[in-house]
Amino acid sequence: MYAFLTGPMFYLSLAVFFIGLAVRVILYIRGLDWKLDRVAYRAHPKAGLKGALRSIGYWLVPFGTRSWRVQPFMTVIFFVFHIGAVIVPLFLLAHNMILKEKFGFSFFTLNPTLADVLTWGVLISAILLVLRRIALPEVRILTTGYDYFILAISVAPFVTGLICRYHVGDYSAWLLVHIAAGELLLILAPFTKLSHIVLYFMSRGQLGMDFGIKRGGMNGKPISW
């Protein structure tokens, strides 16, 4: 089992993840229609690029936009969740060892304490995200089972990872579950809302181009997000 999950399944999930998301990006771009979207993407590449980068950039900075500033609670849990969710899988020492072994390269590695903090952060903020969904009527009305499912598969690798980290219960069994959860996340990402990992950049970029090209970006001071 371990061999299967760390062998073929490992490669398969990575392939599905990367190819799947790449296809998402390609389909997205191909599906842009300057006439229907009413944005002259091609005619003004410079203004478009500037708009896109501003739009993506400001929103990646905590409290970088008015929206982030007026909803500080959400901003904190969102960024704690996402910084952990993106950084920990990539830079965890254990993950890098696997990378080295499988592909012969590795990234720099996280200080273990920091990794712990980030992972707990993911967990706690995920719980807060759930509570927020339940507590706030304006979020509750939007929430569907699917949202909880996405949250669940997102945090599953972190929860199981922590269990392994603290050697709770049967380490090797939990390790299997952890790997499976991680691979499930990778495989499902392109097919679910998790595709926002790349589509966020597309969607934000598109709106940025819209404002950058058509809605005033070439007309005085650019929009302040």
């Binding site: 300057w34 979207d37 008015r66 304006e138 589509l199 969607s203």
Partner: protein, 462 residues
Amino acid sequence: MPEGTLCNKQPIDTDEQLKALLGDKGGKVYYEEMKLLEVDQEKLQDTIRKTMKSRIKTWLKICAHCGMCADSCFLYRINDCDPKQVPAYKVQSTLGEMVRKKGRVDNAFMHMAMETAWAKCTCCNRCAMYCPHGIDMGVMVGYMRGLLYQQGFVPWEMKIGAGMHRVYRAQMDVTPEEFVDTFQWMVEEYEEEYAGLTVPVDKEGADIMYTVNAREVKHYPEDLAEAAILFTIAGEDWTIPSSGWELTSLAMFAGDWEACRMQVESVYDAMERLKPKRMIGTECGHAHRATVIEGPYWAGRPDGKPPVESIHYVEWVAEALRTGKLKIDPEKRIKKPVTLQDSCNYIRNHGLKEITREIMSYMVEPGYFFDMAPNKEHNYCCGGGGGFNGIGLYRPQRNKALITKRDQILGTGADLVIAPCHNCWDAIRDLEEEYEIGISWSFLKPLLIDMVIVPEHMKPEE
């Protein structure tokens, strides 16, 4: 397939049809017929398939259901934070459902969608600035209006408005002759006071081609005179086109994209015909949006620009004041508390926030200008945008929506609200009528007329 005689899927293309629909007082028969109107599910699905591309598809799909857009919507806030007014909910429960059900929706659903599209969203695009994913619910509601229009589920006044554009290439039944005649009449009326006042019609190669809102022609022709006076004082070489003079587009509010194209092409034709250096439109927000911002796309212009450089009236005013073409008598600057209404359509959606404030710095005595909060691209809709002002069926909702602006204005302590946008102006007028807070409101033109220095050669003899 049952279709009403008044309420149906056919756009209005003749004057007789227009008259028939107008004759139906308040749309009584029209709305009765709508209750029986069948949904052409195949056509709906087919249209969605053909026109819904990755942008909107992705928006619908990746919406995190996080509710961060909720507070951004003035309609959500003013309706006691009713969760059903959350932008994401409004779209997910209507357009989202249509898509998920592959167009298999019924009459009752379409009625609900119609109310959502025209009474719960003014397409102000404010929510787009608050969604982390960059999802613009205003754009999606606009898109949905197109679907609803195609199926015949559109408020009575919107159907009439779109029909007016189809028949008259204007939002009201004003013919080219009436337009030119009214303009000339106004100039005659004022030439006694402003020597040398004229209105050049169809002059080729002028620096400025001026376009207006048909309501000015019909009800407030003084506005035309004021435009002529200011252009003349500024020494501009200007003209009006005898056809293609209507800047506005109720068809855009209605979601009648074909009529949008027809309307805007009439203006572009005038540009091609008269070859002016620039087009300047009157003080109207949605009109600027329709003709200058969205119009090029309806007309299929790949660069997204009208045939000649086109600017909003505020851009011209700022330029004229900056360069000294118009000079303000410092004595006559406004010396009472003033605030400024930022029109969504050219502030949030066309970046003119600094320019309008520059104008204020010339017109208002320092210390008397008070900005609303929030302002500029974060300002709230006046409460009557997107067609809301005009729809009888949704009048109570509209009146409630005005409270947002009322309280914003009260918050500034201003006596005078400068609203260089017809829609905002109407909404503010209505809010004064409804809530009587004792403010006055104005376009820029009459205020400017009161304070600009008239050059000697234009002063009346005597």
